[in-house]
């Protein structure tokens, strides 16, 4: 279980601290899939960073009784001068797991071919994304964090990711930030809508998406119209 109690996060700006998250309370239980919606800058990625532990909250506490992944397919941790294999080795070292079987998996899944032994700086962004996703799948976590990942790769790769993630890991908790209704709708069983630093909880996708669209200033006249247009 992951429990956030009265969590606030401020970031300094020239005109004083700006509160990005305001008194957030949230519990994520094993196996739950939580979809996260909100405008740009609403605090979605901040929440992911806080839960991943990359940053501490300004106030409040975060308890984690589950192992939490780094944000999936996150390639910011790559060192450009290192090869794909070096980066896999680094991850295996810090997580204390065997390199060989995981390297085989990454080679196979990322389809990088000979490029696995070339510096990451020579990769295209699609190759980086494939490597990052494959590495994310080598370590087994109780809870996976995903921040807009599925925008990466071609449709065939996206489909393989979907299988790897949702079909092979049905029992894992997931936090998914996405703007895509196609992606969130069938996947999640809880939804969080970010509004002015606070979080609204919804169980029904159509309800949350209707409100989200209104928040974006693209309001539908009615839910029926929205559902029709989403087809």
């Amino acid at each position: 279980m992951i429990r956030l109690t009265n969590v606030c996060k401020d970031y300094p700006t020239r005109v004083g601290p700006r509160r990005v998250l305001d008194n957030v309370n949230l519990v994520i239980r094993p196996g739950e899939r939580v979809g996260i919606l909100g405008r740009n800058g609403a605090g979605k990625s901040t929440l992911i960073r806080l839960i991943s532990g990359a940053e501490p909250p300004t106030r409040g506490t975060i308890e984690r009784n589950m192992s939490v992944s780094w944000p999936l397919a996150f390639s910011g941790g790559f060192q450009g001068s290192l090869t794909g294999a070096d980066n896999v080795r680094f991850i295996c070292r810090i997580y204390g797991v065997d390199f060989e079987p995981r390297f085989e998996f990454v080679k196979e899944f990322s389809e990088l071919g000979i490029y696995i032994n070339e510096p990451v700086s020579s990769y295209s962004s699609g190759m980086r994304a494939r490597l990052a996703f494959a590495i994310s799948m080598t370590i087994d976590f109780d809870c996976y964090l995903m921040d807009e990942v599925m925008a990466v790769g071609d449709s065939r790769f996206r489909e393989r990711c979907r299988v790897e993630l949702f079909e092979k890991r049905p029992d894992k908790a997931m936090l998914i930030v996405s703007h895509s209704h196609r992606y969130l709708k069938g996947t999640c069983d809880r939804f969080l809508l970010f509004r002015d630093g606070a979080i609204e909880e919804h169980a029904d996708f159509e309800e949350v998406y209707f409100q989200y669209k209104a928040l974006l200033g693209e309001a539908f006249d009615s839910k029926e119209q929205m559902v029709a247009e989403m087809q």
Partner: protein
């Protein structure tokens, strides 16, 4: 190093003892830094030695000429080696820690990587690299007859260890400060040049005018360098140093450094923290 635990059970891994996790993470960061800095191509890891060796060679040649003019009993190669490597030790270590967090911030997404690990890995790499360089150069200069081995090896090692400790404290303090204020980076550069001049690279305390001798010993680096030189060629000159003073400085710098490093992250400034 990959441990023998092959079960992909991360939950259990994260619960393994903190010391074990620390060791693993620092080891992994060390290798990563090594590969990043020296790469696999060209002469790769050799740069570790070539860089300081080139410096020391040049300095030795320059001072060899000065010696002809000045006439002193001090063995010039030992003098240059001890002085210059000591200066490189604290300068490089501190330099590597300024802004260290910024270039490694993305790694903090991995729960077991802490800011302290990032600093310790960089510091360790620098200390090991310089120590290895001094060792190799000693053997090299000795084998071609330019250098006699230390008279008291233990004293040299003790002095070097004190200097390593000092470098660590200084690096953490400056690294921590540089995360608080950008100007630290800019101020440190000119200040480090000033410190170079007064740190005992190019003088022995005994050679200074009496009035300055006392002042020079207020610089902790001077004490450590004097100690190293005393161990190396102490019979050729009269060394001045105060070990308790250096230890006190080291303890103070370490405490300040550790607390500054631990404060980082609690006032992380950038909202785009982990992006590429």
């Amino acid at each position: 190093m990959p441990s023998s635990n092959s079960a992909p059970q991360t939950g259990a891994l994260l619960r393994s003892s903190p010391a074990e996790v620390n060791r693993r993470v620092i080891g992994a960061l060390l290798i990563r830094e090594l590969l990043t800095r020296y790469g696999r191509n060209n002469i790769g890891f050799l740069w570790l030695f070539v860089e300081p060796a080139a410096f020391i060679l040049i300095v030795t040649f320059v001072w060899a000429f000065v010696k002809n003019i000045q006439r002193t009993n001090i063995p010039i190669v030992a003098f240059a080696l001890t002085g210059y490597s000591s200066m490189l030790l604290w300068r490089y270590t501190a330099g590597r820690c300024i802004g260290a967090v910024k270039s490694n911030k993305a790694l903090l997404y991995h729960r077991q990587v802490t800011i302290m690990d990032i600093f310790l890995a960089r510091i360790l790499l620098e200390l090991i690299a310089m120590s290895a360089a001094v060792f190799v150069l000693t053997i090299l200069f000795y084998s071609i007859g330019w250098l006699t081995l230390p008279e008291d090896v233990m004293e040299v090692i003790a002095g070097w260890a004190l200097l390593c400790w000092l470098s660590m404290g200084l690096a953490m303090t400056l690294g921590g400060l540089s995360e608080k204020a950008d100007f630290v980076k800019r101020v440190w550069h000119p200040f480090s040049y000033l410190l170079m001049v007064v740190s005992g690279v190019a003088f022995t305390v005994d050679a200074l005018p009496t009035g300055l001798q006392h002042a020079a010993l207020w610089v902790p680096m001077v004490n450590a360098v004097e100690m190293i030189r005393d161990g190396w060629f102490g019979s050729d000159f009269h060394a001045h140093f105060d070990i308790p003073f250096v230890v006190a400085c080291n303890v103070a710098l370490t405490l300040v450094g550790v607390s500054l490093v631990r404060q980082i992250g609690f006032d992380s400034e950038s909202e785009s923290g982990g992006d590429e």
